[in-house]
Structures are given as structure tokens and as C-alpha cells.
Subunit: 387 residues, 2 copies
């Protein structure tokens, strides 16, 4: 049986990138390593849509989120934490862990935070040092309107820190145009790499705040230590250099396709996935869905855990379930990075068969046909669901 | 030209481990991943000579060092920092960064800290919370007597934290028998992997101290978050799962050879390297040398940087130079992990040729012959230089 991983991270790694990983290790303080680091820097800036330096950290996405908080927020600093799911909550927990004061602005799971909520919070708390947000709330499949958040934060002294881990390289994310001061992502989502690297772009406004923070709770994540290396191709600590070499291959691939084409492709695939799921009578969970995953409610009378197991054991499709309070209640179908339309069609076909087996009324072919029809509309659909 | 990396980290990765890295990525919250994490846990404990849990972190060795400090040392806590080189100094810098109070106990570069120095410092500062030490000071090639440090620290409330990054899997390191409370290592040394993972064993004494530390400056490096996962095969954050899979291959290899055999092998190769270097009239730098690298002074009239460049460009041998104040003054020949006796012979042969080219009086063959003669003495030599 063929196995296909359609989870919202990690995502499949292109075969030529896997082969990069099998090449011998080389010394990370060599001219070759410096050249590599400078090369990926330029391509990372392209993918981030930024002229700001993009720091490469050896850690998971959470490590880069920690770096953003501990560098930009002094102990006791107030932070507006926009939170509509598990990953938004991570910002809040990070703030608490490092002695910052989170001001919680929330939306129910499945709903996005509205820009008006941020405007209100900023008006009420003119002394906040930062606003944290989540481009793609992977826990619920919601996309946030970072452009609007950026417009609001830019008028205040607060820096806007965005977790774009499952959104960058998937959906429109214009770091500089949208006034995002720190944009964080990880390697194992749309960058099509194994986990192990994380990245953070840092704006001038953020650097000024970082320089004012004289006692950051940071050493390994001290952004100042990484700053000069962006220009020299050096890193303060031993980087996961084989992953960086693989990153180069991924970035070349992204650059060859073009970032706007990539956003449009994900939008088309997402539209097809949503149409297919809806045609099966399943309820979509996210009110303002992101293009990297499609989240739907497990229908009444069906056990969510069993559904996932059957999809994997019976047909080789690995999808993800809900986390925490959403465990067993939702299914998350990932289609970011190196997952294409035809695999999504396959996943919907497998879902049809599995639901049928489990006694749920489904007409085989209805979901797939709807997905194909949506895809057939091509760019029209893309414009509908795109940002 | 064949290229050979004989640096004291990163080290060459065995071919079969490289191929592990080229396998498809899999979901890190699967039964397969849990099984993998439990399997490497057991083998890590074997290599660490410990029954304590060994935490697997996605970061460089410095990240695990930071974890040790921020978890075990409360802000304002006193720490005796034993430092005989750049890596010993890293402990001091970490303590300073997180508001601990380092008490510096030093030895000149090339010399080890004597156990008496620690005894004195402990007597003078009965209120220290931790002692930090370095098994293998990679900057100078010195080995520290961790067993003696452990005997001393065990009689006090202080936890003993050891950087064993370039020493574990090279030279004798009996974590439990020697009363080492936190033992840290990285993936890219004797574990024969690319950089990207780091490990820390934690004793009961250390856990008690960690539990008392109610406000650690930690989230990503909060050891408590990793503790339960050691028994369940879970990790609090997305691990570099492809590196963990490669780790399994490395650990199997180490276990098949046997840890005491590994120490003896490194001791034999180190004895051969030292004999060869000395026979060329070069001065060994470390007074109590570790078995993972051989450090010698660049002879008068020879430019150290040029020597290294010529070795690499002319013969494909990549050795390392000195760092910071030792830059250009020493050469570091690494022979830990997947580097064998015959490669060390080759490196000495290349060194002979390079020195000759540079006008330094060398009789070709003298170094290699001395290395061979030392190796010929086999286990006798091992007993001499082994711990």
C-alpha cells in the first residue's frame, strides 16, 4: 500500500530534497557553508516578501516564537495576544512563561479574530509593547487578516509578531507591506522540509525594541547574536547544516514557481477540497478558512479516531484529528507544500469509502466530482477564496 | 580529490545513516514515532551510562546547555564554573545571561582544572546551586577528570552539570557512577550524525532542584515539559524526526561495538595521532589530552591559516584551527566518531607533505611510522592514555 501524509505538518518532502539530505555533512564554519547561508538568506527574504533579515534557528517553530517574545518583550511588558485556537494560545503561554503580561483577545474555535477586536484592545491599552497573531490557525483551519492587523499595529509603538508557521508559502503573506515586525515560520510546512529549522524575519521597528530590551531571557535565542551573521553567512551556534542545504533546494523550487503562483495554487486546491468535503454533507469548521488545510466536523454517530485509523490502515491516507478539546471532533486534511490536487482527490475518494464502511450515508463519487468541478473553475475559484 | 573531514565536530556520518536521512518524513505524533523515541531513549541511556531519563532536544549543544542552566539554577543562584577554554566559558556566559552568579575557577588554555580547585571553591562557597564542567574541552583538546569532580559535588547540595558534547562516546563517561546530574551532548560529534539534536540526562537530584525552581526562564527548554515523554515516546514540540530516525541507526552501531570498546578504540587512535605529531617535532598543546582530538601548536615561522588551507586544498584533509585567542596558533585534528586509524595516518602523511612544502624541516614518513608503532602497542597504549 502506498502511504500518503496529508497532515498540516509535517508535510511530504520532494524526492530531490530528500537526496540532498543523504549527502555528506560538511563543516559549518567553511566558505561553502557561508555561501550556502547567504544564498538561502536571499531566497528566504523572497518567500517572506521582506527586505528584513530572516534569522535561521535550529529548533521547532515554537523556538522561533520564543525568540520573538523574549527579544521583543521586556519582563512585565504588556502583549495583546490574539487567540482563536491552540496556536494562538501558545503565544499567551510563552508570554506568561517569560513574565510578560498577556491581554487576551479571543474568538471561538473555528472563527477568526476580527480586526475591530484588535482596534478596541489597542485603544484600551496604548502601552502594549507587542501584538501576537497567527496567520494560519492550524488547530482550526482559520486564516487571519494579518494585513488589517498590521495597519492597526503600525499606528502604535507595538510590534506585530506573527506566527506564519503553517501559512507562509501557502497563503498571501506580505511581511513588509503588511507591517509585520517579526514573522515566524518552520521548516516542516510549506517549505517542504523535515522539522528542525525555524525562521524569523525582524523589522527595523522590532530591532529598535530588541536593542532597548537590555535583559532578555535569551542566549540560544538571543536575536542580536544572529543579526550580523545574516550579512556574513555565519551563525552563532552550530546550525543543522544538512537541513539548511536541503532548504536551499526547497527555496529554489518555490522561487521557480513564483510566490504569487504558489498562493494561487494552494487556493485552487483548497477550493477543490472544500467543495468535495461539503458535497459529502460534511460541515466545514473554519469560518474564514486558510488554504493550507481543510477542517471538517466529524459527523454525528461517527467516531473521529476510528475514521482516521481506517483512512490510514485501509487506504494509506494519514490525516490529522483535532487537538485538546477538539480531539475526536474534527478532521484536518492538510494540503500545503508538496501535496497536489490529485492527492487531495485521492483523499476525498478514500474518505467516501471509509464513511460508507462506517455506515455513514455517502454516495461514492459525489465528493470527488464536486472537487473536480471546483478545480475546473480554476482562477475564478482562486479569486473567490484567495485573500 | 577525496575530501576527508577530520574536525572535532561535525564529524563524518556513516553512509547507512545518511541513507536513513533520505527516507520520507513521517508524522511525529504517530505510533511509529513513539516507538522510535522510546527505542532511542533506551539506547541513549546505554551510551550515557545512565538510568536517568535522557531528554532529546531539537537544537545545537548550546541549547541543551541553556536548558541545564535555566532549569537547575534559579535567578541569582551561585554556580561554580570550571573553565579551561572557550567551551567552559560558554557555561559562564550562559549563567550571566540568565541572572545566575558565576564563580569562575579557571586553568590556562591547554591545562585542565584540578579537582583540588573545585574542592577549594566548594569549601569557600557552600551555597552554590550548581557546578558546571566540560568533559572534553574541544577548544584545547583537554580532558577533565569528571569522576573526581563528581565525588566532590556529590557531597554537597550542588548539582554537577557536564558538557560532554565532544566527549560522550569517545572517552570514559559514567554519568551515574560519577554522580553527574545533568550530562549534555550533541548529535554532530561521536554520535555520528549531522547537527540538529542535543541531549541531556537528568538525575533525581537535578529533578528535585528543577521542581524547586518555580520561575525558570524557559519554555522551549523547560525540562519538565519533556520529562513524561521519555516514558511515552512523546515530545512537547515538533522534534527533528528525521534526525531522530538517523540517531537510531547510530545508536545501534554504538551498541553493537560496546561502549567500553568504543572508548578503547578512541584511546588507541588518539595515542597513534599523538605519537605521529610528536615524532614530527610538533608540540602537543593539551596537558591531559582527550581521545577525540589531538591539538598541536603551529610551529614557529609557519602560518597556521595557510597550513590548514594547504591541507584542505592540496590533499582534501579538513582540520580545524584555533578559536578566539588561539586562532592561527594551534591545529585541531579530530578523530572522534566515524573517523578511523587509517584516516588519521593519512592526515599525518598529508601534514608531513604540507609542512615540507612550507619549508618546515620534516622527514617524510617519520610521523606515520611513529603513529603505526604506537598503534602496534595496541591495548598497552590504550591503558596508558585511557582513563
Amino acid at each position: 500500500m502506498k502511504h500518503r501524509m496529508l497532515t498540516p505538518g509535517p508535510t511530504p518532502v520532494p524526492e530531490e530534497t530528500l537526496l540532498e539530505m543523504a549527502k555528506p555533512v560538511f563543516y559549518h564554519r567553511s566558505a561553502q557553508a557561508k555561501h550556502l547561508l547567504l544564498e538561502v538568506q536571499e531566497d528566504l527574504q523572497y518567500v517572506f516578501c521582506t527586505n528584513n533579515p530572516v534569522l535561521t534557528l535550529t529548533c521547532s517553530g515554537t523556538g522561533a516564537m520564543e525568540a520573538a517574545v523574549v527579544n521583543c518583550v521586556p519582563p512585565g511588558g504588556k502583549v495583546i495576544c490574539l487567540s482563536a485556537g491552540r496556536w494562538g494560545e501558545r503565544w499567551r503561554n510563552l508570554c506568561k512563561a517569560f513574565g510578560a503580561e498577556p491581554i487576551n483577545v479571543t474568538a471561538p474555535y473555528g472563527q477568526p479574530i476580527q480586526p475591530e477586536q484588535l482596534a478596541e484592545a489597542l485603544a484600551k491599552h496604548p502601552d502594549v509593547t507587542a501584538v501576537t497573531a497567527t496567520l494560519s490557525e492550524t488547530a482550526t483551519g482559520v486564516r487571519h487578516d494579518i494585513a488589517s492587523f498590521g495597519k492597526l499595529a503600525a499606528q502604535t509603538p507595538a510590534v506585530l509578531i506573527v506566527d506564519a508557521i503553517s501559512g507562509l508559502g501557502v497563503t498571501e503573506m506580505r511581511t513588509d507591506d503588511w507591517h509585520v515586525d517579526v514573522c515566524v515560520t518552520g521548516s516542516q510546512k510549506a517549505l517542504m522540509l523535515p522539522p528542525g529549522l525555524a525562521f524569523a524575519s525582524v523589522s527595523d521597528k522590532a530591532w529598535r525594541r530588541i536593542e532597548q530590551n537590555l535583559t532578555p531571557h535569551a542566549f540560544y535565542f538571543d536575536m542580536k547574536k544572529y543579526r550580523d551573521g545574516v550579512k556574513t553567512g555565519e551563525t552563532p551556534f552550530t546550525p543543522a547544516i544538512t537541513l539548511v542545504r536541503a532548504l536551499r533546494a526547497s527555496l529554489k523550487r518555490l522561487r521557480a514557481e513564483g510566490i504569487e503562483n504558489i498562493w494561487a495554487r494552494h487556493a485552487r486546491v483548497a477550493a477543490a477540497a472544500r467543495a468535495g468535503i461539503a458535497a459529502l454533507g460534511l460541515e466545514l469548521f473554519a469560518a474564514q478558512p486558510v488554504e493550507g488545510l481543510t477542517v471538517f466536523k466529524v459527523p454525528e454517530g461517527i467516531d473521529g479516531e476510528t475514521l482516521l485509523k481506517k483512512l490510514e490502515k485501509g487506504y494509506g491516507f494519514k490525516l490529522a484529528g483535532g487537538q485538546d478539546v477538539l480531539k475526536g471532533k474534527i478532521v484536518r486534511l492538510g494540503h500545503m507544500g508538496y501535496i497536489d490536487y490529485f492527492e487531495v482527490l485521492g483523499a476525498i475518494a478514500a474518505l467516501e469509502l471509509t464513511l460508507l464502511e462506517m455506515g455513514h450515508p455517502v454516495e461514492v463519487g459525489v465528493g470527488v466530482a464536486a472537487a473536480q468541478a471546483a478545480m475546473g473553475q480554476g482562477l475564478t475559484i482562486s479569486n473567490e477564496v484567495g485573500v
